[in-house]
Symmetry: C2
Subunit: 219 residues, 2 copies
DNA sequence: ATCTAAGTTTAGACGCATCTAAATTTCCTG
DNA sequence: CAGGAAATTTAGATGCGTCTAAACTTAGAT
């Protein structure tokens, strides 16, 4: 029994669901990986037997230390690759995710190191996600989404990298990690959030506001 | 039924056995891919059903046009990647083969194009193997090995890329594709071939001479 | 507290890719 | 050209990763 690409994807996905604060239930994993819940249950049993997670039937799973280690390794590959593809190969930021999804399983430790060295041991990928270090402590800070943040000046910390269309739109209005924007008004009942990006004002729906993570900024 | 990584490896391997002029028999494929002959037979049947090769029981196989197309696509990926890894990432030439063996299945057409563009549409990989063009005619020239070549001045055209130790040794004595050397003497009965590389003379055994391909050079 | 809907697991199946052991075919050698 | 060795195929099995349909458990609503 070995750590296949599929096993890596399960562990990575479980890690990122848990990190978002949600309980890690069968259907959530199934949705993310686009497989049936039955497939997830069967894989969970294997991962549990391999010692990568603990499993309480009907209740969900939790990664063990060794499961977390593998998850972080794959996530490091993924985010280093996204940055490399964007930076060194000029792949547009809305396309790096899908490429990295495959390549993350294909690079050796040597290649990982070469890429990290060329990039100068970077700390964040093009979408603002932190890159786990090769070794040592790692802690992901949780930011609020635009949907939940209070009005006022904020810095864009991170954008969800899974929807290319959203990324293209965000790029078009000049909104990237690092950009400072102002939340001017939040209409009630799921209405748009009004933000000022540079000199322009935009009304952003939940489709967008749940995918942009920000932090308050003092002015 | 889809073109898996394994299917790609079989087609690539069959192509390269056929190109070397040998008949493509079950055991040869099995040896190359390090699987059992029984596995090869079973895969051959599938590839035949998929229309990628023609198969005469007990006699061997021959790629169809569509099989050849896939083989060349994978070989293009492999050789572009070897060159890219060596050139742009500084991976030593004795290690690029194993990396490329995995990555060849993981890059998209977009990424292939980006790599080719950055390298300036190269025609040969670091071991002297020609890179099949994206489209259009492609013909691999067959060169003699040092073992079979006549004494006299020759140019190194290609070295086998599969044995890292051999590659390291060849690099150490300064022998790469493009190097001009002189075959001074060939001892009979599988004895060493004496070659002059630069100012040094080397006695090369069959372990080496079967892995270096040369062409006669006029002086 | 009971019922029911949602979530989860089990049962049984399938295709891929591989193996070993046994049967078959080819082909070389004496 | 007969017999045996080598090559090849067949038979039967296994693990992975997935599915659908059916059974079961949990938890929320009345
Ligand atoms: Mn993946
Ligand atoms: Mn990312
Ligand atoms: Mn391969
Ligand atoms: Mn090569």
């Amino acid at each position: 029994m070995q750590v296949t690409d599929t096993v890596q994807d399960y562990l990575k996905t479980i890690y990122s669901i848990a990190r978002a604060g949600d309980g890690v239930h069968t259907t959530v994993i199934a949705d993310r990986l686009k497989v049936s819940p039955a497939s997830v249950t069967s894989m969970i049993k294997r991962l549990s037997a391999l010692g990568y997670l603990t499993y309480t039937r009907y209740q969900g799973v939790e990664l063990t230390d060794s499961g977390t280690e593998i998850a972080l390794e794959v996530i490091r590959h993924h985010r280093l690759l996204e940055l490399y593809l964007h930076h060194s190969l000029g792949i547009p930021w809305d396309r790096v995710h899908d490429e990295a999804e495959v390549l993350e399983h294909a690079i050796s430790e040597d290649l990982e190191d070469a890429i990290a060295r060329i990039l100068g041991d970077p700390t964040h990928d093009p979408h603002g996600d932190p890159i786990p270090p090769k070794s040592g402590v790692y802690l992901e800070v949780l930011h609020d989404t635009l949907e939940k943040a209070e009005p006022g000046p904020v810095r864009v910390e991170r954008v969800s990298d899974r929807d290319p269309e959203v990324l293209r739109h965000l790029a078009k209005i000049g909104l990237q990690p690092g950009t400072e924007i102002v939340i001017e008004r939040k209409d009630p009942y799921g209405g748009p959030v009004w933000v000022k990006v540079g000199k322009r004002r935009h009304a952003m729906g939940t489709e967008l506001t749940t995918k942009v993570y920000v932090s308050k900024v003092e002015r």
